[in-house]
């Protein structure tokens, strides 16, 4: 359009938009979600059928993987949710649509498992395929967007997480997914699964606890003694840059030597492979975030508050406990969050040196080219890390209230 274009054209956007027009305005993220959902439902396979657990699978579309009534229901729900996502709509409606779609998906994949398994055949494996995952991704994205827009208070977020966990537990307990391959892998390894789960959590939380016990005092020391700060943080940084597999490997030799040569070391469980080197490596990785966040948190304490605390006659200890630590606490807690989420993931690698944890399934699965087994190790790890980050984020936000970053009311 030239500069001399008719003025009427220029003013058009300023005219009031009618109510009907407003209803049909597009939502940007929603449009992307709708496209992903459409691809997932119509173009990608919904489930994979395999004659046994290691042969290549055959893809089945939604229509082929589900009985006609279920396919129709699923497509209808997905279409409805996608349309709600596509246009601007109230957050609660969008949230209900996304959660509804996720529940229907979860149930449908179970139905697909039963529908595709030939009667009496215990070797056939049915697993969710790319279409299912795309649909889950699309509606999880929509749900996450809704949760962000709702700006729920921290305790409510933890509540939502608990509800989600209960919902998943109910689906698991109902046996809906029992004909799916991953549940068949679980069924034959149920005892090991819980044992490895316990190991996984022990390693992740144990190394976190050790890092908190050592890291916070070390951080305080680094904050008070400026000369120490550079060397300590740099050494910890170097540990952080060592690839995890290498670090697990490096520790085999020294710990093995200690086990053999230090009397009593082997008796308390020190050995070159197994849990101890995994624990030491995870601890090493955890130290940097703990120390760095402690230093950062203490540095963030307002200088005036510190000066006033000294000027009013607090001893160094009283100042640390009464002023510096409470004000630095949210930042230190953020360090704990980083460490915990990082350790839950890294613990998977510990399986390589016999450390146990869900990584055992992952590496066994890779060895046997059994992707279902890999999933049996990977999914709980992801779920744990996700839950840990939500819970700790909420705690960080609660602890921030009443401290320096507290929002004015």
């Amino acid at each position: 359009m030239t500069e001399r274009g008719p003025p009427a054209m220029e003013f058009r956007p300023l005219r009031p938009i009618s109510r009907e027009m407003a209803v049909f305005r597009l939502d940007k993220l929603g449009a992307i979600i709708a496209v992903i959902a459409a691809c997932g439902a119509l173009m990608a396979p919904f489930a994979t059928f395999r004659a046994n657990r290691i042969v290549a699978g055959e893809a089945r579309s939604v229509v082929a993987a589900l009985p006609p009534w279920a396919a129709a229901l699923l497509l209808a729900v997905v279409a409805a949710a996608a349309v709600i996502a596509l246009f601007r709509s109230p957050v609660l409606i969008r949230l209900s649509a996304s959660l509804g779609a996720l529940v229907v998906l979860a149930l449908a994949v179970g139905v697909a498992g039963r529908y595709l398994t030939p009667a009496g055949n215990s070797y056939a494996r049915i697993s969710p395929a790319s279409g299912f995952w795309l649909l889950v991704f699309a509606f999880a994205l929509l749900a996450a967007d809704c949760f962000t827009r709702l700006r729920m208070p921290p305790l409510m977020r933890i509540g939502a997480l608990v509800l989600a966990a209960v919902a998943i537990a109910l689906v698991l307990a109902s046996g809906t997914w029992n004909s799916l391959s991953i549940m068949k892998e679980y069924a034959s390894r149920a005892d090991t699964f819980w044992l490895l789960g316990a190991q996984h959590l022990t390693l992740a939380f144990g190394s976190l606890a050790a890092a908190v016990i050592v890291g916070i005092p070390l951080g305080i020391t680094c904050h008070r003694t400026t000369a120490l700060r550079g060397p300590v943080l740099n050494s910890l940084n170097i540990i952080q840059t060592i690839p995890s597999i290498a670090l697990f490997g490096i520790l085999i030799a020294p710990l093995g030597w200690i086990a053999i040569n230090v009397p009593g070391a082997a008796a308390i469980g020190v050995s070159g492979i197994g849990t101890p080197p995994a624990f030491v490596a995870l601890f090493g990785y955890s130290l940097l975030p703990m120390v760095a966040n402690t230093v950062l948190g203490l540095e963030g304490v307002p200088a005036a508050a510190n000066d006033a605390a000294r000027g009013m006659g607090m001893t160094d200890r009283q100042r640390l406990i009464g002023v510096e630590f409470p004000l630095a606490f949210p930042v230190i807690l953020t360090g704990v969050r980083i460490v915990l989420v990082q350790n839950i993931g890294l613990t998977t690698v510990a399986a390589l040196i016999g450390g146990g944890g869900f990584g055992v399934f992952v590496f066994q699965g890779i060895g046997q080219t059994a992707m279902d087994l890999v999933m049996l190790g990977a999914l709980p790890t992801v779920a744990l890390a996700f839950a840990a980050s939500i819970v700790l984020d909420a705690i960080v936000e609660i602890s921030t209230k009443g401290s320096a970053q507290r929002p004015a009311t």
Partner: protein, 312 residues
């Protein structure tokens, strides 16, 4: 009484405070004034040992301030800093209770003291006790900062640019409140500022510092009348000097018999205000009323102009 005796502080061999001696009178408000880097804050912080001197001694009521551990010494001395330094994670009540808590007062006594101080500083205890500092205005924070410093009833109050962060209107009110409290409790106050106007308005005595040296230590009238060095004269600002000089005294003592027309001024008004009123309203004299509202007499422009001349 605070006796500062030949005190010196060196950083890397360079003196920041250089052989300063002065005696802070008890129950008076002493102002240390100087530009930034003059050593005024360092001097103040050596009194409660937030800075340890390189040489010299400071005696508080005759006792060397090195004779107590620093944290014990500080609990007996109120301390107010620029930007209030309130603890953001503690409520107003908890902030004020800081020193009484450190001194181990019992709970009921602390609670009573907190409410007493909030009331003194015109903050309704029920409304403000449980607020957090970031829920207060700048002036309220400043008042809580002073209340906190006074909580354990110290004899001495050290203030480092206490009004620096306030806007002019609130600052004037805060200064008047401080003077009132000083008169009421007889607290010995040492206040550091870079603002000579503030120093003249508040100070019973003024110590002027430059580059670590004490240039002059005298009452405001004397500083105005006979500045010791050119630097002191620059700080005063020659343009406002007669008005500042007049502002030091009230009208009592210069009221003469006679009548005058127009709005009267109370006898407690400053001579500067009277002259300003005369000049602005174009009168040659104005009536002066006593505290009970009766007319005591008048003040003439001539008298005020004569008084504004440099004393000899």
């Amino acid at each position: 009484m605070i006796e500062i005796d030949a005190i010196t502080k060196r950083y890397d061999g360079r003196p920041v405070v250089n052989d300063v001696s002065l005696v802070v009178e008890p129950h008076a408000l002493t102002v240390i004034v100087g530009t930034s880097g003059s050593g005024k804050t360092t001097l103040l912080r050596m009194i409660n040992r937030l800075v340890e001197p390189s040489a010299g001694t400071i005696r508080i009521d005759g006792k060397d301030n090195q004779s107590l551990p620093p944290h014990v010494l500080r609990r007996g001395i109120g301390y107010v800093i620029q930007g209030h330094g309130l603890f953001p994670h503690r409520t107003v009540g908890q902030n004020i209770a800081t020193v009484p808590m450190l001194c181990g007062w019992d709970r009921t006594r602390i609670a009573r003291r907190v409410d007493e101080l909030l009331t003194l500083f015109q903050l309704d205890p029920a409304q403000f006790r449980d607020r957090y500092p970031d829920q207060l205005s700048g002036g309220q924070k400043q008042r809580v900062g002073v209340a906190r410093a006074l909580a354990a009833k110290p004899n001495i109050l050290l203030m480092d640019e206490p009004f620096g962060a306030l806007d002019p209107v609130i600052r004037g009110k805060a200064q008047m409140d401080l003077v009132a409290i000083q008169k009421q409790f007889g607290t010995t106050i040492v206040l550091v500022t870079h603002d000579m106007e503030e120093a003249i308005q508040l100070g019973d005595r003024i110590a002027v510092m430059d580059d670590g040296n004490l240039l002059q230590y005298a009452a405001p009238a004397e500083i105005l009348a006979s500045p010791a060095t050119e630097f002191v004269e620059t700080l005063i600002g020659t343009g406002d000097r007669p008005f500042r000089y007049l502002s030091l005294s009230a009208l009592d003592g210069i009221v003469e018999a006679g009548m005058a027309d127009g709005e009267p001024l109370p006898v407690t008004a400053s001579r500067r205000d009277a002259l300003a009123e005369l000049l602005w309203s174009g009168r040659t004299a104005l009536p002066v009323t006593g505290t009970d509202g009766t007319v005591l007499g008048r003040v003439t422009r001539e008298t005020l102009l004569r008084l504004a001349e440099r004393p000899v």
